[in-house]
Assembly symmetry: C2
Amino acid sequence: MKTSLILCASLAALAATSRPATAVDEGMWLFNKPPASELKARYGFEVTPEFLEHLQLSCVRFSTGGSGSFVSGSGLVMTNHHVGSDMLAKLSTPERDLLATGYVAKSQEQELACPDLELDCLWSIEDVTAKVNADVKPEMSTGQALAIRRAAMSAIESAAREASGLKPEVVTLYQGGAYHLYLYKNYKDVRLVFAPEKQAAFFGGDPDNFEFPRFNLDCTFFRVYDDGKAITPRHWLKWNEKGVKEGELVFVAGHPGSTERAFTMSHLEFLRDVRLPFGLASLWRTEIWLKTFSDRSEEWRRIAEDDLFGVQNSRKALTGRLAGLQDPELMQRKVDAEAKLRAAVAANPEWQQQWGGAWDEIASAQAAYRGFYHRFSALGGGSLSLGSELAGVAKTLVRVADEKQKPNGERLREYSDSALESLEFQLLSPAPVYPDLEIQRLTMRLSSMAEVLGASDPAVVAALAGKSPRARAEELIRDTKLADVAERKRLYEGGKAATDASKDPLIALVKALDVENRELRKRWEDQVQSVERSAYAKIAAANFAVYGDSVYPDATFTLRLSYGKVVGYEELGRKVPAFTELGGLFERAQERREAYPFEIPASWANAKKKLDLDVPFNFVSTCDIIGGNSGSPTVDRNGAVVGLIFDGNIQSLVWDIAFDEVQGRAVSVDARAMIETFRKVYRANALADELLRKGPHGS
Amino acid sequence: MKTSLILCASLAALAATSRPATAVDEGMWLFNKPPASELKARYGFEVTPEFLEHLQLSCVRFSTGGSGSFVSGSGLVMTNHHVGSDMLAKLSTPERDLLATGYVAKSQEQELACPDLELDCLWSIEDVTAKVNADVKPEMSTGQALAIRRAAMSAIESAAREASGLKPEVVTLYQGGAYHLYLYKNYKDVRLVFAPEKQAAFFGGDPDNFEFPRFNLDCTFFRVYDDGKAITPRHWLKWNEKGVKEGELVFVAGHPGSTERAFTMSHLEFLRDVRLPFGLASLWRTEIWLKTFSDRSEEWRRIAEDDLFGVQNSRKALTGRLAGLQDPELMQRKVDAEAKLRAAVAANPEWQQQWGGAWDEIASAQAAYRGFYHRFSALGGGSLSLGSELAGVAKTLVRVADEKQKPNGERLREYSDSALESLEFQLLSPAPVYPDLEIQRLTMRLSSMAEVLGASDPAVVAALAGKSPRARAEELIRDTKLADVAERKRLYEGGKAATDASKDPLIALVKALDVENRELRKRWEDQVQSVERSAYAKIAAANFAVYGDSVYPDATFTLRLSYGKVVGYEELGRKVPAFTELGGLFERAQERREAYPFEIPASWANAKKKLDLDVPFNFVSTCDIIGGNSGSPTVDRNGAVVGLIFDGNIQSLVWDIAFDEVQGRAVSVDARAMIETFRKVYRANALADELLRKGPHGS
């Protein structure tokens, strides 16, 4: 039969094209679809439901955009310093600079309540793909289908919330190939327990960021409270005192933010030629504006420090990502992989009929997006982001008031009923707002709007209201009342009547920009997002049909499992060992003449004699991670902590697009270095004891 | 008569519209058209031919892009440290870092010969407008007229060179309204005499750059030699030991680089919405790439230091310029001025007939330029600039070989016979070239080319030759032989046959890009430059007719005279005094905790007790300057040195577009601070003595 011949041909093509996933430690796997066969084949490891449940329920997601884990029976949570630094900044004042000094709570009474930090622990996962797609009809446009799915997702979330009391989130996987309902236990009373000074956490600063060898104590500990008491989590990770050795299998459980590995060529070209260049230019601008702001005074340095770190970190990440996209060899591998999948689909008439058009559909979506991407981005993008905290407050107030007028299923996703509790918590945060920094941020955004759109553009003219970007920013921040949380509360509770009646200049600014912004968002949903969802669902189906279901979805800032081994690599003909030691920090400082940012932290200089300088400090592994994984626990075969993910090396930055373990590595703080320094540098013996205490899940 | 009525109307309009030039100390005046009546009216100063000749012949232009002046009868030349820093870097090695240590020659024998520094002293000026336009016919297209003028300019230069032995340059003034022949005495044997350490010259670094109050000893001294001996210049400036006082009249004679004050609105909008945003994004990219490069090691910091300073300096300047263009109030003044001139022209039918179309012609040129500006810039612009020194060498070799095939009058201007001597001197410079920095520069440019044009663009594909930007840059710099001056000489002397036969990869890269680049340059000349020249000539004529001839042309990096008074200003309600004192450096350092870049130079710390801390250090004046004026002498009514221009304050950055003396100020090093520190900090008594020695032009 002809069909079977074609099938044979496609299977033959397959044999040659089978994905390299099993040849390397690739994959950010779903907890409900773990890489069982790969682990068995490569490491002889049997992944059990108990292992997965224990890890899953020990992990948390930080609302500041990172990962963490419970590491004691008393609600202690471990994450990175650079994940916690937003809170450290918010808990600081000119007199108490926690980034500069670090913090050690001597007792639970001294633990500092964070103003607006939320942790989410993934409680359950359910595949709701069929429910989400239930009312989608073949004759619908992609835009109609998107609206139907959106309504279904909101309805599923509302029902789940009602039934469970948990925080629901329908997650779009495989760019639209599947929909899973995640239910989270949400924690809002989170307190600071321990942080080293930034000079120890981020020794080497921007110059050494994303580099290896490294010497960073990039950790911070919080504790979760409920009703005034430290909680007792159902699961928490024990500590492996002996640590890990080169060659051993390790796992990382965390929340990788986003990857674009399954993107089609036209989509990658859009990233390469449009989105990343625009994003990078915006980061360069922001970095330089923030740096010149910081340079003007010690206090301005302090208040802009966390922003500046974030921008520099993103800039390095995007630079590496763009370099990957601009590498013709890497792109050729992508071209080849796409061609093989398309050939396999084309070889089966039924598949071709169902899925064959997907690649061209995505190309047409990218072409459409090129026509308005710059304008949309300059006007704040889908979330109408204007750079300033207070403009963000104004945006939330205006949009939530408008959206609440609509039925739940018709709202913008971020204003659905299930999102409002967190939204309100963030909106009414008592965290400090710095007018000087706000003016700088807003000047920056107004100026960049004028640069991108031209200063005579009606939207720019409306935003500037006859002033220069700086004069306008000064006026807006001087005259707004939104720094006052009580005023925010009044407007939030007053709903649309209150925002309509408001004369606040930031509210007025948002209203002036929101009409066009919503039009552009609608255009994006209709011409880009919905087309992508529909087409990627086809590609996902094609992938499953051709390669079977052992395909993991691109990262979505939801819980994933990665695995790999601790192993060094070669660079410029030299061997880079897997581990560094505590003593390396002192050597690196000397090599760089202790000039900024290579100064030895004073606490370390004082403790040097007591420290065991041979204790492993940082180590690399082949675990597949990306931004968002920061703060993830690195665990051994028993699920015990051996390290704390805090970075990837420079060669790992292309992992966004394609995993490769020749040189790319994930970087962890070694668990042994934490205990050693907690005891000998920070006199944080209580913390060390708590980590080593054997609990119900201890061995 | 109708005409006279119209004339009366236009004169009446005039009365209301007369330029504010006499109300403020505005103007970068030609030495052959000095602001005699303004000086008389505002300061009771009679400007004499002797005063002008003395100043003119005492001034020099630096090939590194700055100004300077003879300050002794033995060929001593004063300029800024940041003008001389390019030479300081080229004279440095890993073991001898002149930027870090400074340099004091104890005798003429110790003076260090610079590898490729040229000084030009303006010997004579002749108006050749009629000659340049002699063969232009009304029926010609603007492109044809441009070619005719270009041929005439080259012929005038060749003849002048033949007749005088001097270095000729036909300067385009008033954007095409006039052409003057400048003849320069050119000096190529220039040696380093004195430089302070950069920490004293550039105390406060980028954070304090363009700010005031300032505390900078931004000076460097060279000496001009001829035939192995220090020259005896015909004119040189004496030193005013007593210095200047607040309120006194001062002059600045120097080479302002370029301004855009006479630009039409459409041209300013092009700057604001296209050229400056693109230029700034390019500076941001370069600054961050160079900064991350510098941060990797002490040696890389040293070799990139001068590049990084240049980029940061330009970035601040352009940021201020763009802020001015984005200020609706400033732009409204420009709109009003243009409307008044156009109304005055329109009111006279003959004028309207001759000149009335000029503004629309310029608008159409800008519209045309918008269509290919980004592409042209990304491909290196008119000069095919590729960021790297060695790629620049390759460009020069390829282009000069091609251009020499043509008659002198048909060549690109920069390859005309009169330009070849300097071109050869620069091309065969023995200055060091650093491969690591070259790779970084080239990676940066290849990557930005891909960002702007898209990585699939044929020009990008050709430039990358299947490699990533970094891999390609590494290959090009590894394989080129152009670091070898002998190879450059061989190719230069071998002409087109040699470059055609060359297999050098950088030569090949340039050839691959030059075809399209030349097409774009031709398009720019035909559709933009020639149209602007023709239209601005009309506007200049209109300006002369309406406002008389007391109009100065925009800056062209040629010698100009500015005047003003020493006076402070108000900022944020506080008085900013005109002078700072030496002691202020120590106070500012303390205020900034002596953190980088506010460390007290070690030599100053050692000398503090001896120093008279009350000696004036830096001062501000209303003299009208811009980039290129760096290193200009500030002189008193007698033409004696009272200071050394090194900066403008942040409020002066909009002077590029419009002068304003409410807060804008030029900043000078005080002559007294130089003598005091030369003697007490640097033990450079011979230099101080030479400056104070009375010569033939001394009082």
